[in-house]
């Protein structure tokens, strides 16, 4: 099972590349303090240094801060917010979806209307409003992103639970006298996990993009350096200093791309097409 998984995953070259990039990003995030002991907010050199100058590999910004240091520290907040907000969204989405899908009927109807409501609301606008009203901090940003991201997960989990619930092996478990809790945890959840894992890996990518967009608008946590903030701050001087917004953008692009590639690899490995077809 495990070996098959890795073999299928490794067959997708893009996924392996994604995993490698992701490894570098994680390395940067973990060893940011070692790579750049100085705070990324401190002035490191003369402002407006172009890339490849001697004190700043990727140049410096309008206040003389090192862009490379900012990128390395920015990886921390991106990954942190990406992972935690996905975890919160998973908790909300899978719980609601599972309840709706397992119980069906009125409960399902009510939950799905609620989900639809959240899907209709323009999610980025809601995130902006939430963060602006509740003041930008890591916790608030995480909650805001989770609140606007859970609906697709709920729909997915509901679909899986609904399909599996009517599957004969689940009915067999009911007739064998297993309790509802056991049935959900032992029979249904393990079988619905793979598509949820795949979606979650893609959702981390979306969450990172959302976070960067918020901080681009100046709604990031003012205490941590983030990629979106760097681009937002450099926006007005783009004519004079392209590198200030270029490199943080590349960092976002690579990280998000890597997560998407890994997600696709997971999809290939966990949901072989034939298996998906047989599900109906």
């Amino acid at each position: 099972m495990n070996r098959d998984f890795w073999r299928a995953f490794a067959r997708n070259r893009g996924a392996v590349l994604g995993l490698a990039i992701l490894g570098v990003v994680v390395f940067c995030a973990v060893f940011a303090g070692v790579l750049y002991p100085q705070s990324p907010w401190d002035m490191a050199t003369v402002p407006f240094q172009p890339p490849l100058s001697q004190d700043a590999l990727l140049g410096s910004d309008t206040l003389g801060r090192d862009i490379a240091a900012g990128i390395v520290y920015g990886a921390r907040v991106s990954l942190l917010i990406g992972l935690t907000s996905t975890a919160v969204a998973l908790l909300i989405g899978v719980t609601l979806g599972a309840v709706a899908g397992y119980h069906g009927g009125r409960v399902d109807d009510a939950i799905m209307r609620f989900t639809e409501l959240f899907q209709t609301i323009p999610n980025f606008v809601l995130a902006v409003v939430l963060v602006a009203i509740f003041t930008p901090s890591i916790a608030n940003i995480v909650v805001a992103i989770a609140i606007v991201s859970w609906p697709p997960l709920a729909r997915l989990a509901r679909g899986e639970f609904m399909a599996l619930r009517s599957r004969e092996f689940v009915q067999a478990a009911v007739t064998a006298g297993q309790g509802t809790g056991t049935i959900i945890l032992r029979q249904i959840l393990p079988n619905s996990l793979s598509p949820i894992i795949v979606s979650a890996s893609l959702m981390v990518a979306t969450a990172i993009l959302l976070e960067s967009s918020l901080s681009f608008l100046g709604l990031g946590d003012p205490n941590v350096m983030s990629w979106g903030y760097m681009i937002g701050a450099a926006r007005t001087v783009i004519r004079q200093a392209w590198w200030m917004s270029f490199f943080p953008g590349v960092a976002i692009l690579l990280t998000v791309l890597a997560l998407n590639l890994v997600g696709e690899g997971l999809n290939d490995a966990l949901n072989p097409r034939l298996a998906r077809k047989g599900r109906a």
Binding site: Q171, A173, V174, T175, A176, G177, N191
Partner: protein, 577 residues
């Protein structure tokens, strides 16, 4: 036929069709179709030679994976490219090799001279086009006709296949039509350009038995009127007996026997053909009537169940699945519930076992009314009633080991894991599987083996009543036979009562003591199997009996007595225990 010399690998003595070259429309010679690498065998079809003559219905019979459908698809140029392709042989249509033609030439033949209909009428029509437009499309592609002429032809075709009000129906979308009606539309479409050859790929398999009868009659009638050659693919020897003039039997991609229908059906030569015919379910004359004694184990009185569809914002629709169902079953009795799709037979089974809650009536099990029980109160009863499900591929959790699957019931009822697993091994032996199967996962087993595992799971709680919901309808006939024999044997030895739900009267006839016929949520007739078959009272029962394919054909005497009971040696010990 003269294919004995072409190296088809078939012993010449089983090919005895007289050569009559003039009327041959399609001559398939040594057709070989390769499967992609990594498939279970290199070729889907290997050196198959067949001929279709004018005014002939050639039935190609075989079990799933025999290559019968692939052969048809190869002839029509419909193989799923690029994975599957023809690697050898010819298919001569009036002397010209279709397989060697350019795409445009092939296309001109396809739909024009050769037409095809498929198994699944529900999905074979484009859901976004009216049926009239879909038929017209064929005419547009192959004939020079103006719009009015095409319209007129469409109406004429729809009328020819017996569809009501063709003027109006022409403008309907497929979702408005029933399965039988859609298959008629498919036939109309196939007939649009008066083809010489009609290839029908299991066209009645997805239909109810009464609808199947109508479609078979329609195909036979149209074939006779237009003197077409028909290649009819089926897995059912009953259907063969109904319409075939010639029969070809396929196994593992090879054609093992070809001959006139009368000869193959009554004097089959090849061992595989004999095996298939022996496995055809049929009414067993010599079965003793079941004698009812004492109190009924289960008795339902006027059970009803209504499904309500729709949500908050939608007007709810109701679907009556059962009204006024009353049946009775005694210990040791096998009661067959027979009906077509939508008759409510499965709903009844699910109400009894508590997967659904009946809306009204009483279900008395050992004198206790199950309908009034709450979830918690129902739990102890679960031990006594167990179920065997229809789909062997959906009924076992793919992530659990076989041993755990069988042991889950006893464990849920508080038995120790080790003891339960030990018992699971015993049960595996009982159903004719090795004990080692307990440590493996479901995907390692075939459909028939999985159904045995399902039986073992149902037995694990020592139930008094087993509900078998179409337990063999997803299996090939030869496997079907083995599973039926196993079920029959076990319930006799263990003295179980069984509620056997099926759409197939022939299967019910083979295993049931008593038969209840259901129609539209009601039991219209309930009697001993013998009475139901020999002296049916209700008109619907008579319609069903009438619709059994190949009812005029008697399975050859020498094949009737062959009954193999696998795993019989272990049964002795079990019954004593």
């Amino acid at each position: 036929m003269g294919t004995g010399q072409t190296g088809s690998g078939v012993p010449p003595d089983v090919h005895d069709v007289p050569p009559d070259v003039h009327d041959v429309l399609l001559d398939v010679r040594d057709l070989t179709v390769a499967l992609p690498e990594g498939a279970e065998r290199p070729n889907a079809v290997e050196n198959v030679s067949l001929q279709i003559r004018k005014n002939e219905i050639l039935c190609v019979v075989g079990e799933s994976g025999s290559g019968k459908s692939m052969t048809a698809h190869a002839i029509m140029g419909l193989l799923p490219r690029p994975h599957v392709k023809v690697v050898g042989g010819q298919a001569l249509y009036r002397g010209r090799d279709i397989l060697a033609m350019r795409e445009a030439e092939q296309r001109a033949l396809r739909g024009g001279r050769l037409a095809m209909i498929f198994q699944e009428p529900m999905t074979a029509l484009n859901p976004l086009m009216t049926v009239g437009d879909q038929i017209e499309e064929s005419l547009k592609a192959h004939a020079v006709m103006d719009r009015a002429a095409r319209r007129a032809r469409v109406v004429e075709l729809l009328a020819a296949v017996g569809l009501p009000d063709p003027q109006h129906l022409r403008r309907s979308y497929p979702f408005r039509l029933s399965g039988g009606q859609r298959q008629r539309v498919m036939i109309a479409m196939a007939l649009a350009l008066e083809p010489d050859i009609l290839i029908a790929d299991e066209p009645t398999t997805a239909l109810d038995v009464t609808t199947q009868k109508q479609i078979l009659n329609l195909v036979a009638k149209i074939q006779a009127e237009r003197e077409m050659g028909v290649m009819f693919i089926t897995h059912d020897f009953g259907v063969v007996a109904e319409i075939a003039t010639t029969v070809a039997v396929m196994q593992h991609g090879r054609c093992v026997e070809v001959g006139p229908a009368e000869r193959v059906l009554n004097r089959p030569r090849h061992p595989y053909t004999r095996e298939l015919i022996a496995a055809v379910p049929h009414y067993i004359e010599h079965r003793d009537d079941f004698v009812r004694k004492g109190e009924a184990l289960l008795k339902t009185e006027k059970v009803s169940k209504v499904f309500r569809l729709g949500g908050f914002f939608r007007k709810g629709r109701t679907l009556v699945a059962g009204e006024d169902i009353s049946i009775e079953i005694h210990a040791g009795e096998t009661l067959g519930i027979v009906g077509e799709s939508g008759s409510g037979k499965s709903t009844l089974g699910r109400c009894i076992i508590g997967l659904l809650k009946a809306d009204g009536g009483r279900i008395l099990f050992q004198g206790r009314d199950l309908v009034t029980l709450s979830r918690r109160q129902f739990r102890p009863v679960r031990k006594d009633i167990q179920m065997i499900f229809q789909d062997p591929y959906a009924s076992l959790n793919p992530r659990h080991k076989i041993g755990d699957i069988i042991a889950q019931g006893p464990v849920a009822f508080g038995e120790g894991k080790a003891r339960a697993l030990e018992r699971a091994r015993e049960l595996l032996r009982l159903v004719g599987l090795p004990e080692a199967a307990a440590d493996r996962y479901p995907h390692e087993f075939s459909g028939g083996q999985r159904q045995r595992i399902s039986i073992a799971r149902a037995l694990a709680l020592d139930p008094k009543l087993i509900i078998a919901d179409e337990p063999v309808s997803a299996l090939d006939v030869s496997v079907q036979r083995q599973v039926l024999d196993l079920l029959d044997d076990i319930r006799r030895r263990l003295g179980l009562a069984m509620l056997f739900i099926t759409h197939d009267l022939r299967i019910a006839a083979q295993v049931c003591d008593t038969i209840a016929v259901m129609q539209k949520g009601r039991v219209v007739e309930m009697n001993t199997a013998r009475e139901v078959f020999q002296n049916p009272q209700h008109p619907y029962t008579r319609t069903l009996l009438e619709a059994i394919p190949g009812k005029g054909w008697e399975i050859p005497e020498d094949l009737r007595t062959r009954r193999v009971v696998p795993g019989a040696e272990s049964l002795g010990q079990e019954a004593g225990a």
